[in-house]
C-alpha cells in the first residue's frame, strides 16, 4: 500500500508522455532539427512550472509527507562529467529516440523491440560503473 502512490504517479507520467508524443522518436528527431516548438514547449513549460512550484515550496517551507522540509537533492559540483556524459547521452537519445523514461513507457504501448534498447542501456550503465574511476569527472 505504501507503494500505491508511486504506482499512481507512474501511471500519470506514462499517460502524459504518450499523449504529448514525447515518447515518439519522430518528435525527438524534429526537436534536434529545430523544426517544431512542440518539445521545447513541453520541456519549457515543465521547467517554468517546476521553478514556480519549487520557489513556492521554499518560500512557504512546505513539509514533505515524512514531515521534513521538502527539497530537491543537489547535484555535485563539476563540469567535465556533465558536459561529456551529457553529450554521450545526447548521442544515444537522438539515435534511439528514447531516454530512460520513455523507454519503459514505450514497452507499455506494445513496442517490445524497445526492450533491446533497455538491455543495452543497462549494459551501458554497468560499464560506466566498471570504468568510473578511470574517467575524468
Amino acid at each position: 500500500m505504501k507503494y500505491f502512490k508511486f504506482f499512481t504517479i507512474g501511471i500519470l507520467f506514462g499517460i502524459v508522455l504518450v499523449k504529448s508524443e514525447a515518447v515518439s522518436w519522430y518528435r525527438i528527431y524534429e526537436m534536434f532539427r529545430f523544426e517544431s516548438f512542440h518539445m521545447y514547449g513541453i520541456i519549457g513549460t515543465a521547467v517554468a512550472t517546476g521553478i514556480v512550484l519549487l520557489l513556492i515550496t521554499k518560500q512557504y517551507k512546505f513539509k514533505n509527507i515524512e514531515g521534513s522540509q521538502m527539497r530537491v537533492p543537489l547535484k555535485d559540483k563539476g563540469f567535465l562529467r556533465y558536459i561529456i556524459g551529457g553529450s554521450i547521452f545526447g548521442l544515444g537519445w537522438a539515435m534511439s529516440g528514447a531516454c530512460p523514461g520513455p523507454m519503459y513507457i514505450l514497452v507499455g504501448t506494445g513496442a517490445f523491440s524497445v526492450l533491446i534498447v533497455i538491455m543495452a542501456a543497462i549494459f551501458g550503465t554497468y560499464l560506466y560503473g566498471v570504468l568510473k574511476d578511470k574517467l575524468p569527472h
Binding site: 507503494y3 508522455l17 513549460t45 515543465a46 530537491v72 544515444g92 538491455m119 560503473g129
Partner: protein, 185 residues
C-alpha cells in the same frame, strides 16, 4: 472525452510533468528515471564485483514502482485514450526523413525502419538499437542524470550542473542528427 483522445498540447503536458516531479519530491523522493538502470544492475548482483553497484537497492524500490506505473500508463494512454492519429510533424521534417529512406513518417510513435522486427533483425537495425541504448545508459550515469533528473528536476531547482548536462544532451543530439545520421542512412 474527444479532447483527451486527441494528442495533448505542450502547454498541458509540460505542467503535468512538473506535477509528477513535484509529487515525487513531496513524497520525500526525487524524479529521476535513469537511476532505475543502476538499481537493476545492483539487483542483478553487479555490486559483488563493482563497488559502484554495492548499495542497498531496496531503498530504490519505490522508483521501480514508478516505472511499473509508467508502463501501465503507456498502455492505458495508447490503447484506451488515443484514436489513430498521425503525429503532426513539420512537413520539412517529413521531407527530410523521406530523403533518408523513411516511409510512413509519423504514422506510429516509432519508425518501422528502426523498431520493426524486420529492422531489428538486420545488422543496421540491431546496431542502432544497441549502440543507441548503450550510449544512453553509459552517458546518463556518467552525467548523473537524464532528461527527468537534469532537464526537469535540475533546471526547475536552478542547478548549474544540470544546465551543463542539458547543454551536453544537445551537443550530442545535434551531432547525431546533423552529422552522423546522414552517414548511417
Amino acid at each position: 472525452m474527444e479532447i483527451i483522445l486527441q494528442p495533448w498540447p505542450w502547454y498541458i503536458s509540460g505542467p503535468l510533468i512538473a506535477l509528477v516531479m513535484f509529487f515525487l519530491v513531496y513524497f520525500g523522493k526525487t524524479f529521476g528515471m535513469s537511476s532505475n538502470l543502476k538499481t537493476i544492475c545492483a539487483i542483478g548482483g553487479a555490486g559483488r564485483k563493482v563497488p559502484f553497484f554495492n548499495f542497498n537497492w531496496k531503498e530504490h524500490q519505490w522508483n521501480l514502482i514508478v516505472v511499473l506505473g509508467a508502463v501501465l500508463g503507456g498502455f492505458i494512454a495508447h490503447f484506451f485514450l488515443s484514436v489513430p492519429t498521425n503525429i503532426d510533424l513539420n512537413p520539412e521534417t517529413i521531407e527530410n526523413l523521406n530523403q533518408l529512406g523513411f516511409n510512413d513518417v509519423g504514422k506510429s510513435l516509432l519508425p518501422p525502419e528502426i523498431y520493426s522486427w524486420n529492422s531489428v533483425f538486420s545488422i543496421k537495425g540491431i546496431l542502432i538499437l544497441t549502440i543507441g541504448g548503450f550510449l544512453v545508459g553509459f552517458g546518463t550515469r556518467y552525467a548523473n542524470g537524464c532528461t527527468s533528473g537534469h532537464a526537469i528536476t535540475g533546471l526547475s531547482s536552478l542547478q548549474l550542473p544540470s544546465l551543463i548536462a542539458v547543454i551536453g544532451f544537445f551537443i550530442g543530439g545535434l551531432i547525431m542528427i546533423h552529422l552522423i545520421f546522414p552517414i548511417i542512412f
